[in-house]
């Protein structure tokens, strides 16, 4: 109890005890607690179910939009070109499933500056047959900079479209002479974004990096070779979320 010497403490204690009788009593506390827990669990289950449904719908939507993009890309491809006509005879491979189409890792070496094409450890040999393609558009961040999401957008393409992209890159020269040589501030040298083309091959995933921003370099990088930046191959995969609104070299690219 209170300090014996403290008369006032005893007075406070008496007052508190007297007033405690005014407290509410006889409430069904236990049953309310049970009901709250049940409701909390139901909410959790409902939330989990909602997430599952959303994921399922997202998966189906990704599959459907992949098919739609496939058609759109066919319409975009250069009409009447011999290359396109030849490809029309290639039997269609089954469209990629939603699971296969989400082949973009959340983080990728391309997101780290300075961007070096030598970092491509599994570059694509353009003579290798490809059976699918996932284009992954990434934000490129400066050292020490942090960003919650590095992957800006992705799109999946079937075997025929993937092969069309490879075939469009293969004949390109090492550099596009129509592109200007830019001079820029050191902080603008590195690109703000770039695209990784992830091709499915018999040997696994093989990559081509596409650089179109910054002012140091532009083109298609396979790790062993560089192909100049031209509009034709870009049109085949730069669709939807993978189509950048701008880029230093894109802005100056003839035919883009």
């Amino acid at each position: 109890m209170s300090d014996p010497s403290d008369e006032f403490g005893r007075r406070v204690a008496d007052a508190l005890r007297a007033k405690a009788d005014d407290a509410p009593a006889g409430r069904p506390l236990a049953s309310i607690a049970r009901r709250r827990i049940r409701r909390r669990r139901q909410s959790l289950l409902a939330g989990a179910a909602a997430v599952l449904v959303a994921v399922a719908i997202g998966g189906v939507w990704q599959g459907v939009s992949g098919t739609v993009r496939e058609n759109a890309s066919t319409a975009d491809s250069p009409a009447g070109s011999g290359q396109a006509t030849e490809q029309d005879h290639v039997p269609d491979k089954p469209a990629q499933t939603a699971h296969q189409s989400t082949g973009c890792p959340a983080s990728h070496p391309i997101t780290v500056t300075p961007l070096r094409s030598t970092a491509i450890t599994a570059g694509l040999d353009l003579n290798t047959p490809v059976t699918g393609l996932t284009a992954c558009r990434y934000r490129v961040v400066k050292p020490g900079e942090r960003h919650a999401t590095l992957l800006i957008g992705s799109a999946a393409f079937d075997a025929r479209q993937a092969q069309a992209v490879v075939d469009a890159i293969k004949p390109l020269p090492e550099r596009n002479p129509d592109l200007p040589v830019f001079k820029c501030k050191p902080e603008a040298v590195e690109p703000s974004e770039a695209i990784v083309l992830r091709f499915a091959t018999a040997a696994g995933i093989r990559e081509i990096w596409v650089v179109y921003d910054g002012c140091a370099d532009a083109g298609f990088f396979t790790g062993t070779k560089v192909y100049g930046l031209y509009a034709e191959p870009l049109r085949l995969f730069m669709t939807g979320a993978v189509r950048p609104s701008r880029g230093t070299y894109l802005d100056a690219l003839p035919g883009w």
Binding site: A18, A30, S31, A33
Partner: protein, 180 residues
Amino acid sequence: MEAAVALPETGSESPVFETWVLIHGDALLRFAYVLTGDANLAEDAVQDALTTACAKWSRIGAVDDPEAYVRRMIVNAHISWWRRFRRRESPSAEPIGANRAAPATSDGAAQRADADAVWALCATLPSKQRAAVVLRFYEDLSYAEIGRLLNCAEATARSSVHRALAALKVKLSKEGAEDV
């Protein structure tokens, strides 16, 4: 979860939650009421604490003194309310209703009037000080125990109680002088 309602008390193991609440519920409500000074806040605090306790009852029910554990949860809930609403809750300079205590016409009425006055003054204390006073004089806890409960040093708990008492004394004497 529902099956637990029908289960008998398990002796040495944790008591059935419903039985335990039936025995201790009203005491917890009284404690929460003295702590918060408000019937609704008291019910909310007890209900929140019991809901949490119910979810972990297999563990809480098995400890030596589940009641102390739940009381601690109530105190924590009260202090966190204070933190959440401290901008809205500020001790008033003049206790509301303290001067409206019933006139002392007999011994019982005088005690009642005194209780009302002290109660109204307690409402003007900051929540942490009030909690310290309640734990000291209503719960008969030592300063060390109060310090542990309020997450502060024993000396801090002691000074909280003494400061609160000093403030109450000053206000009571001031009111006594005004009544004359």
